[in-house]
Each structure stands twice: as C-alpha cells, then as structure tokens.
Amino acid sequence: MRRFQGSGLRVYAVLYLAFLYAPIALLPIFAFNNATVIAFPLQGFTTEWFGQMVQNAALRQALLNSLIIAVSASVLATCLGIFAARASTRFRFPGRGPIMGLIMLPLVLPEIIVAMSLLVVLLAAGLSLSILTVILGHTLICMPYAIAILSTAFSSLDRSLEEAAYDLGETKWSAFRLVILPLVMPGIISALLMSFTISLDEFIIAFFLAGNQPTLPTYIFSQLRFPKSIPMIMALGTVLVVMSIALVTLAEYFRRRGVARTGQTDSGGFL
C-alpha cells in the first residue's frame, strides 16, 4: 500500500518535471531546425542560426554590456551580502528584523515597482540612463539572493574557531581573513555565480534603466517582433539556457562543498 501510494506520487512528480522542462526542451530542437518558422514537422538539421548569431554585431554589443553588468553587479551584491550575512548571523543588534526585512524586500516586491521607483529617483538625481544604472538596480535585486546563500554559510560557522584564533593572538581582521573567509569561500563563490546568473537573465530593470544601451534580454525582446529573427533567438536562447544551467550547477557544487566543509548534513537547495 505504502509502495503503491509512493509510485503514484512519483509518476505525478515526473509529469510535473516534464511540464517544467517542456518549453525549454523546445529551444535546442528548433535552434537546429532548418526552417524559418517555429513549427512542426521538423525540416532537417542546420547550424545556420548559430552562425547568424555569432556574426551579429548588435548581439555582440548586447552580450558585452550584459557581461559588464553581470560581473559588476554580482561582485557588488556579494560584497554587500557578506556584510549583511555576517552581521545578521553573528551579532544581535537593535532593529535587526526591520533592517534585514528592508534589505530582503526585493525578493517579494514586483520588479516593475523596483524599476519604476528607481527610474524616477535616478532621473531626478540627474543621472543619465546607461549600463551603470542597470548595475545599481541589479545589485539591489541580487543582494537578497546572495545574502540567502551566504547566511547559510556564515550561520554554520563554529564560533569557537574564531575565538581560538583570537586566543592565538590574531586580530579581528586577520582572524576573519585566515579562519572565517576560507570556510565561507564556497558560499561566496556560490553567491557570485547565482548573482551573475540572475543579472544576466534579468529583463525588467534592464529594460527601463538601460537607456538606449541594449543587454541580452532587452535585445531579445526587441527582436521578438520580427518573425525573421526568431530562429536566431532560439539559438541564442539555447546558449543562454545552457550557460545558466552550467552556472547554477557550478554554484550548487560550491554550495554543497561549503556545507560539507563545515560538517553539516545537506538540507538541499537555494531559497
């Protein structure tokens, strides 16, 4: 009976996974399909769309912008996240709940609200829209994810390790650098990779704050109107999805290494 119930649920869970993956599975199928429309039956194999993608100068510029933004935002978000994660896991201080609530708020706030309110303030402050303003926005929304990952890493630290370092004559900073930092390093790498992935894929904030400088997602959005460029977008989408999956897998690898290094049992997953 128990077995039977489990297998019913398993079938359901597998179907659910299939539903989650079905749209993504179409990307490579049509990226290699030798036809200008995305429709069945398939017309044969081609790499023409990938060729178009590589030769597209506007796309290269968008990719470069996206990479600059993603690297800057992930480094900034992770650095700020280290402060917040260390403070919230190690110290009690007045206003801790509300302060962390404000910092984590972008996780639940609709992005349109973040984008519009930022836009109004940045324009009022006299900044012109560019990839710099996108970096500011992406840092804000990546920070909560970085903190979520880093908090797990910091909270698993044994405080006596740090105290032992003080007893052995290390200063606060050298103890942090020599003892804590190596232990949380997998968490930091994981946070960097996740922030990078989020920034690379983010559309709304880039759409409203980039001015006329395209990022990969805003470039894709601008091309959706032209049926002619859809096959190339399928190729680009394939590359992006493969990159995202590779980055997230790498991030998960480092997160698990961090969990193993501090000697916990794995409770699994981000969030």
């Binding site: 869970a13 639940v108 519009m116 894929d201 992006l240």
Partner: protein, 289 residues
C-alpha cells in the same frame, strides 16, 4: 577603539551599515519618492510640489483602472490557486517519498528552470501557443485539426498558464520546507490512535504544512500581480495588467504623479489582501516548537 563601539550591538550595526545604506538609497528612498509623487500635481513635463489627493481620486474613479486591477487580481488569484494546488503533491512527494540522500538532487532539478531566462521562458509559451506555433503545427501535421486553433494565445487563460509555469518552484519550496519540519512521530501517533491515512493527512499533516502553504500563496501572488512581461508578450498588449498601466502612465503618457498613485494603490490593495489572508490563517501560524 572606543569601548562603546566594541559592544556586540555596535559591531553588528557597523557591519550592516553598507548594505543597509545601499538598500535605503536605492530602495527606501525611491519607494518614498513615488509615495510623495503620488500626492503631487502633474505640470506639463514637471512635477508641481503641491499636496493633492486628486491622483488617487482620478485612479479610483477611473473604470479602466478598476477593470485592470480586477483582472490582475483575478489572474494572480488563479495562478496562485493552480500553482499551489499542483505543487503540493510534488512537495509532499519530495518530503515523504524521496530517500533523503536524493532530495537535494530533486530540488535542484525543480529549481533549474527557474534560473533560466524568464523572458525566454515566456517567449517560448508564445511560440508553443501561437497561430502557427508548436501545438497548432503539431496537431495539423498528425491530422487532428484542419485549421489552427485560435483560442490558445492572447487570452487570460494563456497568461495564467504561462505565469503558473514560471512560478511553480516558488510554491514547491516553502511547502517542502514546512513538510520537512513535521515530526514524523506525530503521523505515527495519528495512525496508532486509529485515524485512517486520509484523516491523518487532513488533521495532522495539512494543518502543520499550512505555514508553508501560506508562504507559497504570498510568494506567488505578490510578484504575479505585478508581472509585466507575460501580459505584454502572451497577452499581445491587448490584455494589460497593472504593471502595464503603471508603465504607460509613468513613461508613455509621462504623468508620474498619476503613475505613482496607481502603483501605490495597487501595492496597498495587495498588502491589504495579504494581511486579510494572513489573518484568516492565523490559527495555523501560531508559533509552535
């Protein structure tokens, strides 16, 4: 170092200062600014800093706003219902059936689609549901239909489908975490006291899982109501939701005070609904060990 600064509270506050300052400058100040804007008057290309409530009057007497807000609530409500109801069995499966050493792998598999480009996932649904799309061409090529089905795209149903697909992991994870916290001995106790499996689920498992369900509902409902991409791409611009209306007022029409009032009004409605929902579920959310 001064003695007062080396207290635990002092150290904590100094550490939290950089991220806090960042969040204040780029989140709190902008939110307060649109709150202030919503009470200002709109001059042509400028903002007149005089207090007025006319933006709110204009917002709430506008039948278009009411229609769009109701539509957004309806769509977000349906998406929440589908996502949470369909996710619960998956979370239950993860927590109660999957062997503990394979749980991390399952969670990883479920979260991966969430980390791939949101825009591309939305666009893929358009490709799937379109007039000459994957479903229509597929059905035609196997001879099931003669003419493409037209009801697939550009309607509320397709928006709900796309959003439900996007937010599925958001619903699974909080429910899974709540289920994981349940002491398995309680379930055995239920069975030992003569309850059937179904009754044990209804009277023990479900009430204990409710904090996760409540979190899942809020975490799906709040972002979906403000979604911009799906109504734009899947609705074809003909079925706007509040995000599209806010964007139009703020940028296309360039009436920032009215746009701000619409944004604040929508957020207030969402916050109020969330409060009512939390209050209705208060008996499940009491702290327990």
């Amino acid at each position: 170092m001064a003695a007062g600064n080396s207290t635990e509270a002092g150290q904590g506050l100094r550490l939290i200062a950089p991220p806090l300052l960042y969040a204040i400058l780029l989140l709190a100040v902008p939110l307060l600014t649109i709150l202030a804007f919503s009470f200002f008057k709109d001059g042509y290309l400028t903002i007149v800093r005089e207090f007025t409530v006319e933006n709110y009057v204009a917002t709430w007497t506008d039948p278009i706003f009411r229609t769009i807000l109701l539509r957004s609530l309806w769509v977000a409500g349906l998406v929440t219902l589908f996502t949470v109801a369909l996710s619960f069995p998956v979370a239950y499966f993860l927590s109660f059936v999957v062997a503990s050493e394979r749980k991390a792998m399952w969670i990883f598999l479920i979260t991966i689609p969430f980390w791939t480009s949101y825009l591309i996932r939305v666009f893929l649904w358009k490709v799937i549901l379109g007039y000459n799309g994957v479903i229509n061409s597929g059905l035609k090529s196997v001879g099931l239909i003669e003419q493409p089905l037209q009801f697939l795209l550009y309607n509320t149903g397709s928006i709900v489908l796309t959003l439900s697909h996007s937010y599925a992991p958001f619903a699974i994870l909080p429910i899974y975490v709540a289920l994981e916290k349940i002491d398995r001995a309680l379930l055995e106790a239920g069975r030992d006291l003569g309850e059937s499996r179904l009754m044990t689920f209804w009277r023990v498992t479900l009430p204990l899982a409710m904090p996760g369900v409540v979190a899942a509902v809020l975490i799906v409902f709040i972002p979906t109501i403000g979604d911009y991409v799906t109504p734009t791409v899947i609705g074809g611009g003909k079925i706007p939701m509040v995000a599209n209306m806010i964007q139009a007022q703020m940028l296309d029409i360039d009436n920032k005070p009215l746009g701000s009032a619409i944004a604040i009004s929508s957020m207030a409605v969402v916050a109020a609904l969330s409060m009512v929902f939390l209050w209705l579920n208060r008996r499940f959310l009491r702290v327990r060990a």
